[in-house]
Symmetry: C2
Subunit: 277 residues, 2 copies
Amino acid sequence: MKTISENACFGGSQGVYTHASTTCNCDMTFGLFLPAEARDGPVPVLWYLSGLTCTHENAMTKAGAQGWAAEQGIALVFPDTSPRGDDVADDEAYDLGKGAGFYVNATEDPWKPHFRMWDYVAEELPALIGEQFAVDLDRQAITGHSMGGHGALTLAMSLPGRYRSVSAFAPIANPSASDWGKKQLGAYLGDDQAAWARHDATLLMAEKGFDGPVLIDQGASDQFLDLLKPEALAAAIAEKRQQATFRMQPGYDHSYFFVSTFMEDHVTFHAEALWSA
Amino acid sequence: MKTISENACFGGSQGVYTHASTTCNCDMTFGLFLPAEARDGPVPVLWYLSGLTCTHENAMTKAGAQGWAAEQGIALVFPDTSPRGDDVADDEAYDLGKGAGFYVNATEDPWKPHFRMWDYVAEELPALIGEQFAVDLDRQAITGHSMGGHGALTLAMSLPGRYRSVSAFAPIANPSASDWGKKQLGAYLGDDQAAWARHDATLLMAEKGFDGPVLIDQGASDQFLDLLKPEALAAAIAEKRQQATFRMQPGYDHSYFFVSTFMEDHVTFHAEALWSA
């Protein structure tokens, strides 16, 4: 692992690190915020999964999360959204290939050698940060924006006991029924609808639900409402009687101005779960 | 004036606007955050002047100021740092020409037709926003980062009665004695040392001071300390017996991670001055 940068930030440190990923078969870069408390011992950790076109950097610089994490004494991890490098397959479309890993393990060519973001976020990166930094892997929570909200919700429901709480900002909520999903799940996973279902938050909510609290914020003026399909997830949550808060926020769009507006609420929500006994 | 974008943000609106500037003789773009209170009438306004290489956008997306401004019910203006366009003179160096206006009115060729950022920030842009938006020009304050801290301090001391308070993050504090200053003031203003002195915060502090409170934050691990020369300004403040708080912050560098860390303090500091009777 190599340190790219470390900047003092809200009494703690915002670092950027790169490492040779055996899961993705390429070098991967991630951001990690550690609050001051991490100097004295392991702290709880909140994962932030980013959306389409993002790298590790977008949320790190634009979401305004570090101040709230510092206040709560928790770490933040900002993974990249896809494998990177010259020998990694790509597509001309912004929403397939690099920057659009969709948090799945691809089974189809040309994607399968590198596009294994599920295992990367679920296995390799937590093991690495647990080994290298003062983070307490027994206290993890997860959030994300758009494609990252999809990743957060699907990981949380599929790995019971891993995350104490899950939240999402404008998640891609029902990808197997959306043009933000059908194309990508088809490309990465082929035609197997059962494989798609394992990566659809609405279907997972109907089938499994989540053993802990859920918080979802969705802008009512989001320009991508037709692709996100929040109504499908809201209905599934209600039918499942899932412990959850779903907030439709009037006037807000899909931007980081929306994300940063509600970041305090999300970090506070996760901190409550992370710091409970 | 043309609206480029408006995003809901912390209960208010983060807008980006462009207009034909008669001062700079080109189209100029700026950001404006209006808190929810602006829907009911004019609100106080805090100017944020950015540093080298920045546009209106950097602070708007990375400084984390809107949340605190919303809490205090004040507007934020994010001007660009230079004139823009194909017919605007430029230089290969990142610290001269576009993105490096230094908040002066150039008197030398090739800069003088467009590089008039002093008049733009002091005259044209306040008049425009006063006319077009619910901002109260009787309640203005100003801050900035690096080159923008230089701009904020020099404008505040040169226009008594205009701003109720001034603050700066890692300002270029003594440009007439620094390589971040000598080159630019020479290029824009020629060899007239008296003209340079009118744009040097340390010299203005010694000569005039500021009729109101001053807050300055400087990172002790700033990679540009030799160019910023905070010790010159700190000494001038002390000699002048200026009402001021100067904070040397251990571990912090020159980045927006530093700026965002202390943004709450700066917005709160200005709000106190702006909301006093």
